[in-house]
């Protein structure tokens, strides 16, 4: 366990009284923020926030985003970036709908297609990034362009799935026992979740296990922290990176199917900006783009915080869409600054480091290299 902590960005040398690692500290802040925010919302706006269904709808509506963010989380821990998630999601929805409608496809076949598209994207991007050393931003940007462009080649008009077996799966709801709310007429309505949520939660757990207890997960932290020293330690940096992108692609494919189960339509505008929201969820959840620090549980709460703030903005009467993106921006700004300050303090162990260099009026003795 201790070894693991050191790998995940802890700065401790003292084995006896180990301070909390960067990863866990940043995650703890996010979790506290989320519960604090939701608590305040429940106290102030009551209404919808007291309704368990609204809380579960956070998951119902954003299961796909959570899955993209999980894949992205691993890539970001390894020090890379993947912005193709939203595009792949939208492409999968469109291809699956066209397959189900025009080619008499089966549900199982469409699931396999979704996984196949995701894997194909992950494979190509992984090879390009890991083995050809091309900058991940450019590769995944091209992936996003390709996916978004392919959607219109597959079908220009938005399509809706109407196949019976698929609709049956789409309308499946899982009722949570004991949780629910009272409708206007006073009858008890149990809270429901969609099957996509189960998939999303399962993926969060799988990724958490991978990151915590497998060699691959620890390798991810190691190459994200310092890929040179990871290489000298005998870690296969290229292979690890490749699998990170492969998994991210696969998860994007799954996310596409979950999105389809939620909306039942294929459209070029599906999952717009999902990649940026996934990045934002990860950043709020304490994953650093520099790599080596991060946790998928943090990502889960990052996503929840991001969506809760939107709900709060709507609940407080600012229904115009631009308020939501401005608050999202402000929240990102707050978390980014907070992380920067915390990491700076922990690195130098003094508050002095917070003062920027150019504000100090003495000569600089030290410098970073």
């Amino acid at each position: 366990m201790k070894k693991d902590r050191n790998l995940s960005g802890g700065t401790s040398l003292n084995r006896g009284r180990e301070p909390i690692s960067n990863t866990n500290l940043l995650m703890a802040i996010t979790v506290c923020t989320f519960f604090g925010m939701y608590g305040i919302a429940m106290a102030v706006w009551k209404g919808g926030f007291l309704n368990p269904q609204q809380f579960l709808d956070l998951f119902n509506n954003n299961a796909f985003l959570l899955i993209i963010a999980c894949g992205l989380n691993m890539v970001m821990i390894s020090g890379g970036i993947d912005i193709s998630g939203g595009g792949i999601t939208a492409l999968v929805t469109m291809v699956c709908v066209v397959y189900l409608e025009d080619h008499g496809g089966t549900v199982l076949g469409s699931i396999l297609i979704a996984l196949g598209i995701g894997l194909a994207f992950g494979l190509v991007q992984g090879i390009l990034v890991a083995y050809l050393d091309i900058q991940p931003f450019i590769v995944t940007l091209a992936g996003m362009f390709f996916a978004r462009g392919m959607i219109t080649i597959v079908s220009i008009a938005p399509r809706t799935a109407s196949q019976e077996a698929f609709l049956k799966l789409k309308q499946t709801r899982i009722t949570l026992p004991g949780i629910g709310y009272y409708g206007k007429t006073g009858n008890f309505i149990p809270a429901q979740i969609e099957p996509g949520v189960i998939v999303a939660i399962a993926i969060v757990i799988i990724v958490a296990i991978i990151l915590k207890w497998t060699r691959f997960g620890r390798n991810l932290y190691a190459i994200g922290g310092n890929s040179q020293s990871a290489l000298t330690l005998g870690i296969n940096v290229r292979k690890t990176k490749f699998f990170a992108y492969l998994l991210a692609g696969l998860f994007s494919g799954i996310s596409g199917y979950v999105y389809l189960l939620h909306t039942g339509a294929g459209d070029a505008a599906n999952a717009a900006q999902a990649e940026m929201q996934a990045i934002a969820s990860n950043i709020i959840g304490g994953t650093l783009l520099t790599g080596g620090v991060g946790n998928v549980i943090g990502t889960l709460f990052g996503m929840l915080s991001l969506k809760t703030i939107t709900n709060i903005v709507i609940a407080s009467g600012l229904t115009k869409p631009y308020y939501q993106s401005i608050t999202t921006g402000l929240m990102l700004c707050f978390f980014i600054l907070l992380q920067s300050v915390i990491l700076a303090v922990r690195e130098r162990r003094s508050a002095k480091s917070l003062i920027p260099e150019w504000m100090k009026f003495k000569r600089h003795e030290k410098c970073e290299s």
Binding site: L132, D133, F145, G149, Y323, I336, L337, C367, S369
Partner: protein
């Protein structure tokens, strides 16, 4: 021959020039008419140039101007500013707002509006710059804030409306100045490029920018203030953003905060990457970025000329971009150089062995 080859492969301009050549050759074989330039009379009654080449140059001007700022930021901050398009929307909105509140549109009013939008864009850019330089946040994350909030701020500036502005002066900025057959955006882009390259040539800014990008610690030890250099790059980028925003507004004649320069940040970053500047910072190549911007626009125009639907252009673009970056990737480069080196060794066995590549 060997020396020339070495000089050629060593230059950062090889890949962009090669790609541009490839697109031109492709078009030569596809349809020679692509290159025809004709003089037509526009609706104001003046003779103007028209043709695919002109529309490539004209369309690339905004991206090229943005890529100047992006190159500097990429070089010294080791990251990219993904909020340029959103900031251009803000700058354009400010431009329109000032113009609309001023009544009659005259040249001084346009200048004042441009200065206002420059000021606002520089302020927003400085916000990014302070996050990056002072708080040492990765540029992509720091600019993600304005990326998500920028267009909403633009929306708020004009109260959610998408007002149109039409005036001969604006039309001459976005289109043609009466009597001059070349589109004004091209002229503005060239003036801008000349100004910036003069600044880089006659001051130490270019050198300092590269030094900060290559090794910040060394720069600091040599008496360069990295924070100041980074902030300067963001200020220049702010001016570029305002210019690109205003040109685009003049060209389309209305401000739409949602679609103004949509996805331009991606094109700009691609232009910088294709132009031979490493996205990991360090040495930069301004002309490479400009060529990169024109490559992207040439691609788009070629695809349109081939009757590819506008929404599907992205897919083809992505494939070609991947091919370009794969060709220019270190792995392929090394393989090619090794093959050539082996051939050279076979030919001159007794001469001094070629030095190993660094």
């Amino acid at each position: 021959m060997n020396k020339l080859w070495k000089k050629l492969t060593g230059s950062q301009l090889v890949i962009p020039l090669f790609s541009l050549l490839l697109i031109i050759i492709f078009n030569l074989f596809r349809d020679i008419e692509f290159f025809s330039i004709s003089i037509v009379t526009n609706n104001q009654g003046y003779p103007v140039l028209s043709g695919n080449l002109i529309s490539i140059l004209n369309g690339a001007s905004a991206i090229a101007i943005l890529s100047i700022g992006m190159t500097l930021i990429t070089s010294c901050c080791k990251g990219q500013d993904i909020s340029v398009a959103a900031m251009a929307a803000i700058a354009g909105s400010v431009f329109v707002r000032v113009l609309r509140s001023s009544g009659a549109i005259t040249i001084p009013v346009v200048l004042v509006a441009y200065l206002y939008s420059c000021l606002v864009a520089v302020l927003f850019s400085l916000f990014n710059g302070i996050l990056v330089a002072v708080f040492r946040i990765q540029p992509m994350i720091a600019t993600l804030i304005l990326f998500s909030a920028g267009r909403s701020i633009a929306y708020w500036i004009n109260g959610g409306a998408t007002p149109t502005i039409s005036d001969p002066i604006l039309a001459s900025i976005g289109g043609f100045i009466p009597g001059i057959p070349i589109p004004t955006p091209i002229i503005i882009m060239i003036i801008f490029l000349v100004l910036i390259s003069l600044v880089l040539r006659f001051t130490t800014l270019g050198l300092y920018t590269q030094v900060v990008g290559i090794n910040e610690g060394t720069a600091h030890l040599n008496g360069i203030n990295p924070v100041l250099v980074k902030l300067l790059a963001f200020i220049i980028s702010g001016v570029c953003v305002a210019t690109a925003g205003c040109i685009t507004v003049c060209r389309i004649g209305l401000i739409n905060h949602e679609t103004l320069l949509l996805d331009a940040e991606m094109d700009v970053i691609l232009a910088v990457a294709i132009g031979g500047t490493s996205l990991g910072g360090g040495k930069f190549n301004l002309f490479g970025s400009i060529i990169g911007a024109h490559i992207i626009q040439a691609l788009t125009v070629t695809l349109y000329a081939m009757k590819v639907p506008s929404a599907a252009v992205k897919a083809y673009k992505a494939v070609i971009i991947i091919i370009i970056v794969v060709i220019s990737s270190p792995f392929v480069k090394e393989t090619v150089i090794n093959i050539f080196r082996k051939a050279a060794r076979k030919r001159i066995k007794n001469e001094i062995p070629v030095k190993a590549a660094s």
